[in-house]
């Protein structure tokens, strides 16, 4: 035992880690692997070393020692396991016995290793890999097979000396990655649902149970399925899809022909509905038939053209005349009040754009017309007959309101005019949202905006004056005295307070408003970059808020005067994106006569002329 210990200590002292494969920079031979394929024999291999050519062959020797044989012995077989190897047959192999081996070169120990045989088991690959067909699917697309193999012949599994575990890999022929199955203890495994038109490859490897190292893979087995005989398919029953399709098409065609050429109009209508002819929007023939005259009249009233036509039609004149009376009654309140008294839906019309040079007659786009009969009330008011009357009244009211706005946040001057507007305020919900959005940021604006009377002057259309980078749409406040613009123009003394107010939304603007706007245009422009700060819940902000900010940033007292009439129409300044347009909100019309008369649309050229 002393000799054993001494020798081992010496051997250990001059060696590196037993099982590492570290490179030996000195070029000496090193052990690469010791392996037992069946727990009965084992062999050890070593590298030659870099400078083997310098050494005489045969100078490398391997010695081993066992606990029960306490002396170093030389390798019994240098040949059987190949070059640079030592083979220990079964008589030299003792399981569960520690071995130590050493490699010497010219007498000097160059490597050393200790192990037990049961720790180095690495079986040979399985043999006899083959497959048999289990069954084929009815569709003859898939098949199940059974893959079988034999354990390595040198392993004695029958006796139970070694228990093996197998791992099967498989893949399609053209794939690169192998798929693996879970380890098995048996020598066969079924594979299901393989495609008959594809080829597969399988391989299997094995290891002793309870160890980690697998042996080498077996040879790859190629699985190809023989081509199915076409004749075999004839006997199979195939659903006569072809016949069914043909007969189905024929039957369908016959039925269609019968229907098309038959006199059964109802069925014909059902299957081949008539193409609807273009209808004039706004006039539903059924309405005419049913006699809903009021609705029809309101629709008709929107279009002056149609009115003329129907005047010629005796049967309709009566109805129209009646309706003409009605708008007069209705114009007691402002049109905007009536409009504002409607529900949300109608109030959305506020944000529509008003059109045209001809005045208020065609107020709305056709699709909105259909949805909203009440809106036509306003247009009724704008009819030529009643227009001056109503406008005047409205102008007075609105001008008064504006005066109130100018004077103080809380207006008591015209309670009468405020009455309807108060009502409007209550009922009109989006408006406060709109206004309220700006309230939080601008106190000065708050007072004025919260003035209910100002709502009376709010038109239903708001012009998009700008689009903030955040995507919020900036509305230009409409011209408060939209309906009263001509009157405002003709009454200059009234004009001034009118225009001093905010124009919540306007399709038109007057010269005076334009002038004001020009004066304050720089402020507006200056504020355009502040827009991002107005990001609020509402997607709309008004230029009122902008202008008030401008005013506030300047001088507070200028707030009232910083009301900038924002034109309803502006030229497109920048097309920023598919989603946005930046409107050139600074363009203002020149006070041309033609503008005075119509107080209407300002063209781009005129705007450009106005621009300072």
């Amino acid at each position: 035992m002393d000799l054993w210990q001494l020798l081992l200590t010496l051997a250990v002292a001059g060696s590196s880690d037993a099982f590492s494969g570290s490179e030996d920079s000195s070029g000496n031979p090193k052990f690469t692997k010791c392996r037992s394929p069946e727990l009965e024999t084992f062999s050890c291999h070593w590298t030659d070393g870099a400078n083997h050519s310098l050494q005489s062959p045969g100078s490398v020797q391997m010695f081993y020692i066992r606990r029960d044989i306490q002396e170093w012995k030389e390798c019994p077989d240098y040949v059987s396991a190949g070059e640079n190897s030592c083979y220990f047959n079964s008589s030299y192999t003792s399981v569960w016995t520690p071995y130590c081996i050493k490699l010497t070169s010219n007498g000097g120990i160059v490597d050393h290793k200790c192990f037990s045989v049961e720790d180095i088991v690495q079986p040979d690959p399985p043999v006899g890999l083959n497959w048999t067909l289990l069954n084929i699917s009815l569709t003859e697309i898939h098949a199940d097979i059974l893959v079988k193999w034999e354990p390595p012949p040198n392993t004695d599994v029958k006796m139970g000396w070694i228990i093996l575990e197998y791992e099967l890999h498989y893949k399609e022929l053209n794939e690169t990655q192998w798929k693996m199955m879970d380890p098995l203890m048996v020598t066969s495994v079924p594979m299901y649902s393989l495609r008959l038109d594809k080829e597969y490859e399988v391989r299997v490897r094995t290891r002793q149970r309870n160890t980690e190292k697998y042996g080498k893979f077996s040879e790859v087995l190629l699985i190809t399925f023989p081509q199915m005989n076409p004749s075999a398919c004839e006997e199979d029953f195939q659903f006569p899809w072809f016949l069914i399709i043909i007969f189905g098409i024929l039957g369908l065609a016959v039925t269609l022909f019968l229907l098309i050429f038959s006199k059964q109009q109802r069925i014909k209508m059902l299957i081949l509905p008539p193409v609807p002819v273009p209808k004039i929007k706004g006039i539903d023939p059924d309405l005419l038939k049913e006699g809903k005259l009021e609705e029809v009249n309101t629709i008709l009233a929107i279009h002056d053209n149609y009115k003329h036509e129907f005047y010629n039609d005796d049967s309709w004149v009566e109805f129209i005349e009646l309706d003409i009376d009605d708008p007069d009654e209705k114009t007691e309140g402002s049109d905007t009040d009536r409009l504002l008294s409607n529900d949300h839906e109608k109030s959305l019309n506020i944000f529509g754009a008003k059109d045209d040079d001809s005045g208020r007659t065609s107020c709305y786009e056709p699709d909105i017309l259909e949805a909203d009969f009440h809106v036509s009330d306003m247009c009724d008011g704008t009819s030529e007959v009643a227009q001056p009357q109503r406008l005047k009244g409205e102008a007075d009211i609105s001008c008064l309101d504006q005066k109130n706005q100018n004077n103080s946040p809380s207006n008591d001057a015209a309670p009468a005019s405020q009455q309807p507007s108060v009502i409007l305020v209550e009922e009109n919900k989006p408006r406060p949202l709109l206004i309220g959005g700006t309230e939080s940021t601008h106190q000065a604006v708050h007072t004025q905006l919260s003035n209910p009377s100002s709502l009376a002057n709010i038109d239903f259309y708001a012009q998009v004056s700008d689009i903030t980078p955040a995507g919020n749409v900036v509305l230009s406040p409409g011209q408060k005295n939209k309906t009263g613009n001509p009157q405002c123009d003709t009454h200059p003394e009234v004009v001034t307070p009118c225009q001093a107010n905010f124009i919540v939304d306007n399709a038109y603007f007057c010269e005076v408003d334009a002038k004001k706007y020009i004066a304050l245009a720089p402020h507006v422009e200056a504020e355009s970059h502040v827009e991002p700060s107005f990001n609020q819940e509402d997607i709309y902000t008004t230029t009122e808020s902008l202008t008030t900010t401008a005013g506030r940033s300047g001088t507070a007292e200028h707030v009232p005067s910083s009301e900038i009439p924002v034109p309803d129409y502006t030229s497109i300044h920048i097309v920023q994106s598919p989603q946005g347009l930046v409107l050139n909100a600074t363009a203002l019309p020149l006070p041309d006569k033609e503008f005075l008369s119509s107080c209407g649309y300002v063209s781009t050229d005129q705007l450009n002329k106005i621009m300072p």
Partner: protein, 230 residues
């Protein structure tokens, strides 16, 4: 062992526990320990006994391998092979066959008594191993839990083997002497290196002996139940 293997083993462990506990608890109820009418009537239960015994021994070998690897990784890097080579196991005195030919020539009675001797001789060391690993500072739970598990499984396997022995060799005496372990002082020494070395040696011996038991049992199983035709 890799994590995949350990997760698979965790599932199989539970199954093994249930199976073995059922086996050992219900053994008295389901079948008689002795075959009154000869071996013919007991073949089925003997087969089950062997199957379960093989499973338990396989499990013990797994656990001891994992425990040894854990310990080697944590405490004994670089010094392992010294202690393995220099020290011997307390069960070395048992005349166990060292290769296949020897095992084939060994009678199944002898093999079984050797197995029983090995199992009995490990009762005491396993008990102390658990105690000392608990006391070892910074002992990872992986080692401690496995030590506890191995101790319990060892007892179970011993009971199972005694039943098998009683069936295969009726009337044989079961009081064979077994090697006594005396390595407790080295486990409790103050010298930390020596202590770790003693632990390492003990775990290495445990792994080796569990491998022996596992192999001998498989051998017996194939020989007795399957007639050398596994």
């Amino acid at each position: 062992m890799d994590s995949k293997g350990s997760s698979q083993k965790a599932g199989s462990r539970l199954l093994l526990l249930l199976v073995v506990s059922n086996l050992l608890l219900c053994q008295g109820v389901v079948s008689t320990p002795v075959c009154p009418n000869g071996p013919g009537n007991c073949q089925v239960s003997l087969r089950d006994l062997f199957d379960r015994a093989v499973m338990v021994s396989h499990y013990i070998h797994d656990l001891s391998s994992e425990m040894f690897n854990e310990f080697d990784k944590r405490y004994a890097q670089g010094k392992g092979f010294i202690t393995m080579a220099l020290n011997s196991c307390h069960t070395s005195s048992l005349p166990t066959p060292e290769d296949k030919e020897q095992a084939q020539q060994t009678h199944h009675e002898v093999l079984m008594s050797l197995i029983l001797g090995l199992l009995r001789s490990w009762n005491d060391p396993l008990y102390h191993l658990v105690t000392e690993v608990r006391g070892m500072k910074g002992a990872p739970d992986a080692i401690l839990s496995r030590a506890i598990e191995i101790e319990e499984e060892n007892k179970r396997l011993l009971e199972g083997m005694e039943m098998i022995f009683g069936q295969v060799i009726p009337g044989a005496k079961e009081t064979e002497p077994y090697p006594v372990w005396s390595g407790l002082p080295s486990l409790q020494t103050k010298d930390e290196d020596a202590r770790y070395s003693a632990f390492y040696n003990l775990l290495h011996c445990l792994r080796r002996d569990s491998s022996k038991i596992d192999t001998y049992l498989k051998l017996l199983n194939c020989r007795i139940i399957y007639n050398n035709n596994c």
